[in-house]
Structures are given as structure tokens and as C-alpha cells.
């Protein structure tokens, strides 16, 4: 009995050590990988490699209407997707859309699972250390929406047990974690989940990109944007894997060309006009230049 028990413990410890070894192995491997990242192109595909393969993998949201969603016929659509389609056309390749969640976006680029992220990705300093951003194509700040009968107009007014809904991996989450550490956050993986929970009354307010919360309040009666602009004015831009210079250069040229043709105003009118009306067109749209 005793011997068996001992053996059991030993085998348990072995599990631990094997896993630990595997991971410390991982640790050192990744450390060396970081230092040699510049010479190592395995984690991304260059422009030529993408063209050669004939398909580009673009990460977009599939549940964030009106920026990236799937319509009732199963086709991707929205402001981001409109741009993605143009990129595919101008590159002369087919597009393989990869449905991402907010928290996966950096990971998808760093592991080379997508070539470009076009998922309403706000440019921040922290993120710029992990991925490379191209020129912006949209303006954004944070905003907070709440039910009409209990509008939250200032985050300082929240009571202790009030929970604010955010989506894991968004700028709203990082901003609130940093600047309002006392606010209880209720986090969700996906836009669809967060919105449904908000509708169901699981939180007192929902903090996200102001574009998104304005859209929500416009589309759903009974909700009001109590805080229209929070934090800094940021921009949204396509992102590529760090170091993927050929693709980045092409993207910037593409964005500038498109900008000179007023492409993004057209994009707005096609995809966002129904939601926002014409009022936001000038504040929202950036014509692809730095």
C-alpha cells in the first residue's frame, strides 16, 4: 500500500516536472526567438509569398456590426470588411476571412495565423510594441452606453457593486483597468455575448469604442450614450505581424491611394450611414494618410 502510494506521488511529481520542463524549454526557446526575430520570417508571410499563394488571410470580427459581421447569407460585411475586399482586389488574391475575438488579435498576428488584422484595431503604444500598424482609416475614442432610465454620465458616479461590461482584449478594458481600478468589470469574450448580456441587464453600462456604443444606442431604442468620449482620441488602423515590412509598405501605399480617391467616405456611406446618419462622417473617417 505504502509503496504504491509513493509510486503514485512520484508519478505525480513526474507529471509536474515534465510539464514544467516543457514550458521552461518553451521559455528559453521563445527568448532566443525574440532576439532573432528580425532574421526569422517563419511567423509571417511576405507580400510576395502571399501573392504567390493566391490567398490572403485577413482577421476580422464576425459579430461586430456594422464594422465586421456576417450577414444572413453567410457573407462577411461591414466597414472593415469593405476595406478588406478592396485590398484583396488590388492584391489580386482571394480572401480567407478568419473570425477573431478581440483578445486574440495580437496572438493571431504573432503566430502568423493571419496576414492582416482588420478588426477595428485601435492603435495604442502597448500594441505597437507587439505588432506593426499601417496608416489609420478611422477615428475612435472610448464611450459608455447605458439604459435610458439610468444613464451613467460619469464613471465616478458608479456605486460599489455596479458592474461595467467590457470585452476582453479591448482598449476599453485596458483603459478602465489602468485608470479606474476600483470599477468592477464584467468581461466577455465576444461582442455578441457582451451585447446580449448588456441587453439582458447584467451590467449597468457597457464601455467600448465610442463608435460602437453610439451605433448600439442608435440602433436599439431605450439606450443612451452617457459618456461620448473618454480617454484619448485614438485611431484605428490595419495591423500586420511585427517586422513584415513588405506587406506594411504595400498597405500604406494602398491606403494612401485609396484615401486620395475618397474611398473611406464611400465606405462610410455604404456601410455606416444607416447606423450613424451623415453627422459622424467627417469626425469618423480618416482618408488613409498619416
Amino acid at each position: 500500500m505504502k509503496r504504491k502510494f509513493l509510486r503514485r506521488v512520484v508519478s505525480g511529481l513526474l507529471v509536474l516536472s515534465v510539464v514544467a520542463a516543457a514550458f521552461t524549454g518553451c521559455g528559453s526557446a521563445s527568448a532566443s526567438e525574440n532576439s532573432s526575430k528580425d532574421s526569422d520570417s517563419a511567423s509571417y508571410r511576405t507580400l510576395d509569398e502571399i501573392k504567390e499563394s493566391g490567398t490572403i488571410n485577413i482577421g476580422v470580427f464576425s459579430d461586430k456590426s456594422p464594422f465586421g459581421y456576417v450577414d444572413e447569407n453567410g457573407d462577411y460585411a461591414g466597414y472593415d470588411v469593405y476595406l478588406a475586399e478592396q485590398i484583396g482586389k488590388d492584391l489580386g488574391v482571394k480572401i480567407n476571412y478568419v473570425s477573431t475575438e478581440a483578445a486574440n488579435r495580437i496572438e493571431y498576428l504573432q503566430t502568423g495565423k493571419v496576414d492582416i488584422i482588420l478588426a477595428n484595431f485601435t492603435v495604442t503604444e502597448e500594441r505597437a510594441q507587439e505588432v506593426d500598424f499601417a496608416n489609420p482609416y478611422m477615428n475612435v475614442a472610448l464611450g459608455v452606453v447605458s439604459p435610458e432610465n439610468a444613464v451613467v454620465t460619469s464613471l465616478d458616479d458608479l456605486k460599489d457593486d455596479d458592474e461595467v461590461i467590457v470585452i476582453s482584449g479591448t482598449t476599453a478594458e485596458t483603459y478602465l483597468t489602468k485608470n479606474y481600478p476600483n470599477i468592477k468589470l464584467q468581461k466577455y469574450d465576444a461582442y455578441a455575448e457582451a451585447k446580449t448580456a448588456f441587453e439582458n441587464g447584467n451590467g449597468v453600462a457597457w464601455a467600448n469604442d465610442n463608435t460602437e456604443v453610439i451605433a448600439f444606442a442608435n440602433e436599439n431604442p431605450g439606450y443612451k450614450v452617457g459618456i461620448a468620449s473618454l480617454g484619448e482620441q485614438d485611431t484605428i488602423a490595419p495591423a500586420v505581424t511585427k517586422g513584415n515590412e513588405t506587406l506594411l509598405k504595400w498597405l500604406n501605399e494602398e491606403l494612401e491611394t485609396l484615401g486620395s480617391q475618397q474611398f473611406f467616405h464611400k465606405d462610410y456611406e455604404e456601410t455606416l450611414l444607416d447606423t450613424y446618419g451623415a453627422d459622424y462622417e467627417e469626425t469618423l473617417v480618416v482618408e488613409g494618410t498619416k
Partner: protein
């Protein structure tokens, strides 16, 4: 691997572990309760209730917890039933676990030879007394390994709680990866904390399983 990052993350994982354990145990208690009642109903073959329990078992054993949680948390409020995430997690886990616990306890009950029930009756115990004093203690000890396996299974299932905004171990890891992209550190701690939580139970299960083999009567 960056140990500063790990140090910084450890408190977050500790909180997550506590939450996971809290909701996990609540759910397990609910499932044990359901398991005892349900298996007693099956054991005594109580008519209509028996069918009801059968349907319950089939439904919850043949759908994923994730889908059950989606339904309870996101769909039920549309018909006016709003539950907090914690209640929903406990309930989801409890209902799923109950379906498994009933089967485990029932097979324990059925493993006790009929003669014991008869002997108890001949000693003047009624059905309820014989179940409570004679059959159940033995049945539970037979089912303990199975029950512990269910416990591990249920604690593992908590990994889908991210969907309903509960900051369990899995969600903490995902969230940290999303915010800071320190994937390896986050995944490493995730594995370590799952080991801390489940390895002792797993070892206990194996030891008990060995013990039980000698603890049965009449073999």
C-alpha cells in the same frame, strides 16, 4: 520566460483559483443533492418522477455545458428570467453534474446485493431506513471513486465559464494574453494552477479506489 511577469500574474491566478473553487464546489454540492434525490427516485422506481428523471439525464448528458450556459445566461433573460453569472455558473454546473451523479450513485446502490435489503426488512427496518442506514453507506463507499471522477470532470468543465463573464482560471489566462500578449507565461501559470487544483483530487481518487476494493462485503 519572464519571471517578473509571472510574479505579477500570480495574484490574479490565485483569485481565479478561488472563484473557480467557489463556484465549482457550489455546483458540485448542487449536483450531489440532485444525484441523491434522483438516484433514490430511480432506486424506488417512483412512477412519474422516474420518467422525469430519465428525461433530465438524457437532456443534460447529451448537450455540452457551454451550450447549456449559453441558454441559461443569454436566452432565458429574453423570457424574463435573469440570473447573475455566479448563480448561472453554479446552476449550470449543478444540473450537468446532477445527471452524472445520479448514474454514479445509482450504480453504487444497485451494486449492493438484494439480500441486504431483505435482511434489513427482516430486521424490521422500513424502506427509507434500510436505504439510509444499510444500503446508502455501502453504496456511497462503492461510488466514491466514480464521484471523485465526476468532481474532477466538473472542475475541469469550469473552463468554459469565460462565456458568462466569470473570471475563472481559463478566462484569466485568455484575458491576460489579450491585454499583454505574454502568451507563454500566461499559459504556463494556467497549467500550474490546474495541476494545483486537480492533481491532489486525482491522487486521492486513485488511493481510495485501491482501498475500496478491500472495503466491500461478501466478495
Amino acid at each position: 520566460m519572464d519571471f517578473n511577469v509571472i510574479n505579477e500574474y500570480i495574484p490574479l491566478y490565485k483569485n481565479a483559483l478561488l472563484l473557480t473553487l467557489k463556484i465549482g464546489w457550489q455546483g458540485i454540492l448542487v449536483s450531489l443533492f440532485i444525484g441523491l434525490i434522483g438516484s433514490a427516485i430511480l432506486y424506488f422506481r417512483i412512477k412519474i418522477l422516474k420518467t422525469f428523471i430519465g428525461i433530465y439525464i438524457e437532456i443534460f448528458r447529451n448537450t455540452p455545458l457551454l451550450v447549456q450556459l449559453f441558454f441559461i445566461y443569454f436566452a432565458l433573460p429574453k423570457i424574463g428570467i435573469v440570473l447573475s453569472a455566479e448563480v448561472c455558473g453554479t446552476l449550470g454546473l449543478g444540473l450537468l453534474g446532477g445527471a452524472y451523479m445520479i448514474e454514479t450513485i445509482r450504480s453504487g446502490l444497485e451494486s449492493i446485493p438484494v439480500i441486504q435489503r431483505e435482511s434489513a426488512a427482516s430486521l424490521g427496518l422500513n424502506e427509507m431506513q434500510s436505504l439510509w442506514h444499510v444500503i446508502l453507506p455501502q453504496a456511497i463507499s462503492v461510488s466514491v471513486p466514480g464521484l471523485l471522477a465526476n468532481v474532477i470532470f466538473l472542475l475541469k468543465e469550469t473552463s468554459v465559464f469565460s462565456t458568462i463573464s466569470l473570471m475563472d482560471l481559463m478566462f484569466t489566462a485568455k484575458d491576460l494574453i489579450g491585454m499583454y500578449a505574454k502568451t507563454i507565461e500566461a499559459l504556463f501559470l494556467l497549467v500550474v494552477f490546474y495541476l494545483i487544483m486537480l492533481l491532489p483530487i486525482s491522487i486521492l481518487g486513485t488511493i481510495l479506489e485501491r482501498r475500496m476494493r478491500y472495503g466491500q462485503f461478501g466478495d
